[in-house]
């Protein structure tokens, strides 16, 4: 068996296990998800985009402060964080985009990606 084949089989086993795990989700969680979905659909009609450009500046300041905090504050020795995880953390903190910008930007960046894809195809 080649390594590629065994990798495919390994991934397929994980996929099967994950699929089965969602079939056995706690009924309480299923119910909460259903309620959340209905609420999301009910609120669709009343939502409208908010534009708050000042948040870009605030987000950059916050991201800089957060990254500085991570760089300057020594990790608690009990926190056995791997170097990879630490880099992952830093990468996320350095991103200055606040939650709110996704409200408007998700779709515009999505459109931009799609346009690039069409141009390249």
């Amino acid at each position: 068996m080649t390594d590629k084949t065994s990798e495919r089989e390994f991934v397929a086993r994980i996929r099967t296990a994950l699929d089965q795990s969602i079939e056995q989700l706690d009924p309480g969680i299923r119910s909460r998800l259903r309620r959340g979905r209905h609420e999301a659909l009910a609120r669709k009609a009343v939502s409208s985009p908010r534009r708050r450009p000042w948040r870009w500046g605030a987000a950059m300041v916050a991201a800089t402060a957060a990254a500085a905090l991570v760089l300057l504050v020594p990790i608690n020795p009990r926190h056995t964080q791997s170097p990879l995880a630490a880099i992952d953390d830093l990468e996320m903190l350095a991103a200055s985009d606040p939650l709110e910008i996704y409200e408007d930007m998700e779709f515009y960046s999505w459109l931009s990606d799609m346009e690039n894809e069409i141009e390249n195809s």
């Binding site: 991934v11 959340g36 669709k44 957060a66 999505w110 990606d113």
Partner: protein, 183 residues
């Protein structure tokens, strides 16, 4: 528009459980995971529900991954502040630092759920121990079946980064679950 609402409802019903599992693996917390999924559903339906139906799935996963990433960022900052301020909530700190402890032990009952030789409790612990980007790349590609390009858009990174994160995730998972050499 009842027809649109009905289609959106069907779409969200089809993805909500997977989304919850992804959010739960990333946060280790049931309530946080439910909040993240609901927020993603709300954002998709409120802002993009009238977009092309073909775009819903990748858009939904982009929103979901953004929400997870925001949660992780807030959590990192909160943990660092607590360290800086000298707060030592020993039990909670240990829980936050140990991915094995972040998997609730009541819901999946790994002793009763060995699946094709893979206990879901072991799998959850292995997935939860991955760096977030590796976890996202693996779940979106291997489980949700997104293409490299779709995964890259959902994760807001390049296709090359997706391949790297995915490859490292596979190596790590095989090492953890099969004792496979990940060097």
């Amino acid at each position: 528009m009842p027809a649109l609402r009905s289609r959106l409802d069907s779409f969200l019903a089809a993805v909500e459980k997977r989304a919850y599992r992804m959010a739960h693996l990333a946060t280790g917390d049931r309530e946080e995971a439910l909040d993240i999924v609901q927020d993603a559903m709300l954002s998709l339906s409120a802002r993009y529900g009238d977009k092309s139906e073909a775009d819903w799935r990748p858009l939904f996963y982009r929103i979901l991954q953004n929400r997870i990433r925001d949660w992780r960022r807030r959590n990192i900052v909160r943990t660092r502040w607590r360290t800086w301020l000298g707060f030592s909530g020993d039990a909670e700190d240990r829980r936050e630092s140990d991915p094995m402890q972040q998997i609730p032990d009541q819901r999946y009952r790994p002793d009763r759920e060995a699946m094709h030789g893979l206990a879901i409790g072991d799998l959850d612990a292995a997935l939860a121990s991955l760096p977030l980007r590796q976890q996202q790349a693996f779940l979106l590609r291997a489980w949700e079946g997104l293409t490299i390009e779709e995964t890259a858009r959902a994760m807001r990174c390049s296709g090359g980064s997706v391949k790297t994160h995915y490859h490292r995730a596979i190596q790590r998972l095989r090492h953890l679950l099969e004792g496979h050499d990940d060097r």
